[in-house]
């Protein structure tokens, strides 16, 4: 069936101008020839192979790919939590070695400090950076305000919902003033409604704060809705399939998810992630447990 969607590569002049402006910006994150091999006793496993891409300042770049293709490994290498086997990661032309506050990270499981309140958590990076207690507190409050949790300052993480916890995690990561915000499936554990609210929140925050976002997801709609560009990986070994420019203007709102451009990109991602229509139910040989001819057709 032909849904007569536009080519996902065609861009309006407005969008094209936007991408030109984006690419004219300095490169914030430069990944070249990145490879990762996990050695094991039997045979070593190549998880990532020759990954290369650049993220420009204040860009929102998503990485998607099938489960196990090495997305988490990739973002952990960028964060400095994992060592690359080959290739380089440069932040503003400086090779990264080990983790540092210039690359903040938000994890899927929130990883908030359970012994500290919301305020304590968000204050943590500020105190690490040597701010005095009162300045750190005031600044932490600003970040808590930005993520809309001013009334929950004194709550412990366990008293918050998943969405609120993730907002605290974002506030805490941003309070360290990172140049790049790394997010590994941050909304993966949230229900659909909370998730779409959080997406809107994130875009809003990203607009207000000078930060470049590298975002991992396996949710195709989420990737299209949020991103300027989407890096599509394939599995075994993890390699770049395509770098897609999302032909939608920013700022985005939920209406964009129904535009032909959105759906065109969405369909393209589907083709890349699930090749040759493997969702074809007819192929399954399945035991019949309901009488034949009883279906509602």
């Amino acid at each position: 069936m032909d849904w007569s969607l536009p080519d996902y590569k065609s861009q309006t002049s407005e969008v094209r101008a936007r991408f030109e402006a984006l690419k004219a910006r300095p490169v914030m994150l430069d990944v070249q020839g990145l490879g990762k091999v996990f050695p094991s006793r039997k045979k070593s496993e190549t998880v990532l192979k020759d990954i290369g891409f650049q993220v420009h300042r204040r860009e929102f770049l998503s990485i998607i790919g099938p489960s196990g293709c090495g997305k988490s490994t990739l973002i952990r290498i960028v964060a400095g939590l994992e060592q690359a086997s080959s290739g380089t990661v440069k932040l503003e032309n400086t090779p990264v070695e080990g983790p540092g506050p210039d690359r903040g990270m938000v994890f899927q499981n929130y990883s908030l400090f359970p012994w500290q309140t919301v305020l304590g958590n968000v204050r943590f990076p500020l105190i690490l950076q040597g701010h005095g207690a009162s300045i750190a507190e005031a600044e932490a409050r600003t970040w808590i305000d930005i993520v809309g949790l001013a009334d929950y300052e004194e709550y412990y993480p366990s008293q918050l919902s998943g969405g609120m916890r993730q907002r605290v995690a974002i506030a805490r990561a941003l309070a360290a003033k990172p140049k790049v915000l790394l997010m590994d499936e941050p909304f993966g554990a949230l229900d659909a409604q909370t998730r779409s609210k959080m997406q809107a929140y994130l875009l809003e925050i990203w607009r207000k704060v000078d930060v470049t976002v590298l975002f991992i997801t396996h949710d195709l709609d989420e990737a299209v809705f949020l991103s300027d560009r989407i890096l599509v990986l394939k599995a075994h070994p993890g390699e770049v399939q395509e770098l897609i420019e999302v032909p939608l203007p920013q700022p985005r709102n939920s209406a964009h998810t129904l535009t032909p451009e959105f759906l065109a990109v969405r369909r393209r991602l589907d083709e890349l992630i699930h090749p040759q229509g493997d969702d074809d139910a007819e192929k399954f040989e399945m035991l019949r447990l309901a009488p034949a001819g009883d279906e509602v057709l």
Partner: protein
């Protein structure tokens, strides 16, 4: 019908908990009362009330029933007055009433021999031994455990030797500790230290190793490194569990008390119990033993309560403090 308390992993209501707590004490004390007060249950000996014409029996003595009967038959044959007696329990099992009485009188009863310590003094001495042994052990053991649980270097360096040493029974060091520290409190504290320390390092190291790695990673991406990771992330994250471990270890330390108190000169509650047993005051023995139990459980309850105060977030997570 659903029997309360028999659904897997379902917590009891407050009322059910109280009833069971009560029962857990009432049942053993009840059993003890039955054995003590119901005459035909057990009561294997005869308590001699009056000796009659016998010269072999003594008033207040507990004798074998067969011997008592044989003696009475002999008296009957000789035409002498018969001895009278009651069936009774052996002297080492006093009745609950006698023990409760001893318990409440214990602190006001002066020692039989002038110069011997009062019960309160004995207990206080024991508590001091435990305190110093456990305190010194914790002072070194907890930091070492935390280091070993965090850094591979310390784990590799400490744990093999400690694994070996913890199999050496603490009482085996009695003679050695006396040779080093003399006969007073030194060796006693040392025994408690030896009994606690090696387990402590391993237990705390194990607990510390359970610190959630993603918390460490999150802190690293915010710029924490080195000792800061230890002080700002590892320690606060494992502190409630270390605290719980310490409560359990303190219980273990008590089990080394009796051993330590017979090292060198006998002292503390052990000396008190020994003396009472010598005087055959078994009610006092039971009272002193249950006092140890009470002190133990009271300490643990206070520590548990303090734990809830120190670590308020634990209860919100539904975890024991």
């Amino acid at each position: 019908m659903k029997i309360p308390g028999f659904q897997p992993r379902k917590p009891l209501t407050g009322r059910q908990k109280w009833i069971l707590t009560l029962l857990s004490f009432v049942l053993p004390v009840g059993l003890w009362s039955v054995v003590s007060y119901v005459p035909f249950v057990w009561h294997p000996v005869i308590l001699v009330r009056s000796v009659g014409g016998s010269s072999a029996l003594e008033q207040g003595e507990r004798v074998d029933p067969a011997f008592f009967q044989a003696e009475n038959q002999k008296l009957a044959a000789e035409g002498k007055p018969l001895a009278a007696g009651l069936r009774a329990n052996p002297i080492f099992l006093p009745s609950p009433g006698r023990v409760f009485e001893a318990f409440f009188k214990a602190f006001t009863t002066p020692p039989r021999r002038v110069g011997d310590p009062w019960l309160a003094e004995s207990l206080w001495h024991s508590i001091q031994i435990i305190f110093w042994g456990f305190f010194l052990s914790s002072l070194i053991g907890v930091p070492l455990g935390i280091l070993a649980g965090t850094y591979g270097f310390f784990k590799g360096l400490f744990e093999p030797f400690i694994e070996f040493f913890r199999y050496l029974p603490a009482p085996a060091f009695g003679a050695l500790t006396v040779a080093i520290w003399g006969i007073n409190d030194g060796p006693k504290i040392a025994i408690i230290f030896i009994g606690t320390f090696f387990q402590q390092v391993l237990v705390i190291s194990n607990t510390t190793a359970k610190c959630d790695t993603t918390l460490l990673e999150a802190a690293q991406t915010m710029g924490a490194r080195g000792v800061r990771l230890l002080s700002s992330v590892v320690i606060p994250s494992v502190l409630p569990d270390v605290y719980r471990d310490q409560r359990i270890l303190l219980g273990w330390a008590w089990t080394y008390l009796i051993v330590s108190e017979v090292v060198g000169t006998s002292s503390g509650i052990t000396f008190f119990i020994d003396q009472q047993a010598k005087y055959r005051e078994y009610a006092n023995v039971f009272a002193a033993i249950s006092m140890i139990g009470l002190i133990g459980i009271a300490t643990d309850m206070v520590l548990g309560w303090l734990g809830r105060f120190f670590f308020p977030w634990r209860r919100l997570e539904g975890k024991e403090a």
